[in-house]
């Protein structure tokens, strides 16, 4: 029971990171797709919330090393390189965004920050996806013969990068949907709407690519998928949400389209999770996969962790709600703050 609560919070943190932090990254990608005109809207939408959004990732890390330390250690060793690249992206993106906003003098350096912000908005989620893909693929070999086998092969492959690409697409899709409600200009809204629709279509094709590349890399993802009724259910839900999202976009139902889009992403995450469960990291043949159960910390630790998470949530959720209400309430009448 204890461990299931921890798993629930781990999943919740991942879901929130994807829904909020992910949309932040996506906004950066959107800027590339749509050009300079949206910079204001995007900066305005992310400004007050990005710092809070990215704490979800820190929480994921803390839960991992406290409750499933072997998983944290194995990932750190064998996925060192993509993790490092992702970190570089996190650093560059967070700083570039803030420096751009708080530079006392607005001149051409702003364009440099903006360029860094956009580029790192692409490759950070790309490597996040690569890491998730590598955990699933099962090429992590704890006793490698040589450097490449131990530290490169696990992640430098078609499947991991397809998952990476899929992640970038989903994040950008989320951002487009969120931003529709952040702007009051008709032209911008219809541009975001169009982008959201295109990205939704792209996600379907890249999703197919993920399955194809899994097959290519020798991972029987499709049959693992079809073996699980829950995964099928989630896939069906995600598909059903497609027309619902389109309908809500057509009619500018801002809130509804957000709920549908978030629901679709959560369904995809849950399907992935269920296909994996209870494994977190699949390793090469001959080595036992690392699961929630064979890596769990002792009960004394899990108990403390659950206390911290439960009490922490009681503190955080109301604060987060207040933050959203102050800045995200009354979207359309929003006046510019003087910062």
């Amino acid at each position: 029971m204890l461990i299931e609560i921890v798993i629930f919070f781990l999943g919740l943190s991942i879901v929130f990171y994807v829904l909020f932090g992910g949309a932040d990254f996506g906004a950066g990608v959107l800027e590339i797709l749509s050009g300079k005109g949206d910079r204001e809207t995007i900066a305005h939408a992310i400004g007050p919330v990005w710092e809070a959004n990215h704490v979800w990732l820190v929480l994921v890390v803390v839960i991992l090393f406290m409750a499933f330390p072997k998983v944290y250690a194995a990932m750190s060793v064998h996925l060192h390189i993509p993790l490092l690249l992702m970190l570089v992206g996190i650093v560059l993106r967070g700083t570039a965004f803030t420096y751009m906003h708080y530079d006392a003098i607005k001149d051409e350096t702003n364009d440099i920050y903006n360029a860094v912000f956009k580029i790192s908005s692409v490759f950070t989620p790309l490597f996040l996806g690569v890491i998730a893909g590598a955990a699933t693929l099962g090429k992590i070999n704890p006793e490698p013969e040589h450097f490449v086998e131990g530290f490169i092969t696990p992640w430098l492959n078609l499947f991991s990068f397809s998952v990476g690409l899929f992640t970038v697409t989903l994040f950008t899709f989320l951002a487009a949907i969120y931003l529709i409600g952040e702007t009051s200009q008709e032209k911008q809204r219809s541009a975001f709407t169009k982008t959201a629709r295109n990205l939704n279509i792209a996600a379907v094709f890249i999703g197919i690519l993920v399955f194809a590349s899994a097959h290519f890399e020798g991972l029987t993802l499709l049959s693992m998928f079809l073996d699980s009724w829950f995964a099928i259910l989630m896939a069906a839900l995600a598909t059903l949400l497609l027309p619902a999202i389109w309908w809500s976009l057509q009619h500018y139902k801002v809130i509804l389209s957000r709920i549908f889009a978030a629901g679709q992403v959560v369904a995809i995450l849950l399907a992935w999770f269920w296909v994996q469960y209870p494994s977190i990291i699949n390793r090469t043949d001959g080595f036992e996969d690392l699961t929630f159960y064979n890596t769990a910390a002792p009960d004394a630790t899990l108990t403390q962790l659950v206390w911290a998470l439960v009490i922490g949530s009681c503190i955080i959720l109301p604060c987060l709600f207040y933050l959203m209400r102050v800045f995200k309430g009354g979207q359309f009448t929003q006046s510019k703050t003087n910062q």
């Binding site: 400004g47 007050p48 919330v49 710092e51 809070a52 990215h54 704490v55 820190v58 890390v61 803390v62 090393f65 406290m66 409750a67 330390p69 072997k70 944290y72 250690a73 194995a74 990932m75 750190s76 060793v77 060192h80 993790l83 490092l84 970190l87 570089v88 996190i90 650093v91 560059l92 967070g94 700083t95 965004f97 803030t98 420096y99 906003h101 708080y102 530079d103 006392a104 003098i105 131990g150 530290f151 910390a297 002792p298 004394a300 630790t301 403390q304 962790l305 911290a308 922490g312 503190i315 955080i316 604060c319 987060l320 207040y322 933050l323 800045f327 006046s335 703050t337 003087n338 910062q339």
Partner: protein
Amino acid sequence: MEDLLAARLQMAISLGFHIIFACIGMAMPFLMAIAEYKWIKTGEQVYQDLAKAWSKGVAIFFATGAVSGTVLSFELGLLWPTFMEHAGPIFGMPFSWEGTAFFVEAIALGLFLYGWDKLKPWVHWGTGLVVGISGVASGIFVVAANAWMNSPAGFDWVNGEAINIDPVAAMFNDAWASQAIHMTIAAFVATGFGVAGLHALLLLKDRNNLFHRKALKIALAIGAVAAILQPISGDYSAKDVAERQPAKLAALESHFETERGADLIIGGIPDEENREVHFAIRIPGMLSFLAHGDLNAEVIGLEEFPEDEWPPVLVTHIAFQIMVGAGFLMMFVGLLYLFFYWKKKHLLFRRWFLWLVGICTPLGFIAVEAGWTVTEVGRQPWIIYEIMKTEDALSSMPGLQYPLYLIIALYLLLTVIVSWLMYRQVITLSDRYQTANLKAETDAD
């Protein structure tokens, strides 16, 4: 480069970078809260301008602190996976609480920075205070984790595995209280003097600038009080170290032989080979007194430990001298300030005093870096004191110098940019108050 050395350097650089922003994140919100409080109370525009100007700096520092902290939470595993595999379940508890503190801090910061027009003045002021309180809380939590590495508790170590884990006992280990107190005060010393020093230097150019005068007063008041408390807390830390890590105490004092009535060694260059200290000032019996509160108490020397378990004596000793030296200098300046403030107001903005404060600008941060060097290098060769050696915790990935180079390049870049941004803040900041405000000449308050 050897992998172990590369990893240790990377850890040291990342932590040394992060701690600067962490100190600012802990103390600066309180400085802003004082300025905003005065604005709400007196309605003087200069105070709001001050709070806003500071808050722009804080936004830049906070973002840098947050991303470098995120790097650290991954780095613990990227560099020391074996350590984390064993230590995670034991010392993870403070980190899990720290998560909550970060959240509250980040949320409150969002409200503070972007909410000047959206929140009522007192609510806005409150969010600033919450940023500070949760910043200090997160500092205390993470220091508890570090203290556990110095003073492991809450488990039994049997055949290379931890059993009977008790995370609560681990968190409230013997080193926790002394380190948490000392670190928290250090953040206020460093930030207080850093900010006051900068405004003092700017005042040298324009002595009647009301803006900088108000800023200096607020920052130096905080810095002075903290700097006076810090040696007291440092003495408590030293006594604590003498109890739990005698090898560290011996190294930071360059004390080679166990003896009664041990001399306090000030300055000097320790020579590990011959077990002597050259060019030092010695105060008879003082070390015994400082470590154990008795001029005749026995102080354990390094000779009691096998040489391969000695911390690097030279680095630890010099770092300790730097910290204590900086500490006493700032304490002196702090006392002077408080004396002037109460008795000799007309001396507060004299050139020589502004110079003195200006010189102190980097001292607090230097002391913080030096203090952490004492703590961390003084723990070597252990990563978990007397349980696990640093070399046994290292990642098995070869070529660790490349991540090191990457991190060095990244942080150098950020250092340059942050300095440049601060410079640009400063040059645009006080134009409004530049025209010597005649009222300020007599400085009524």
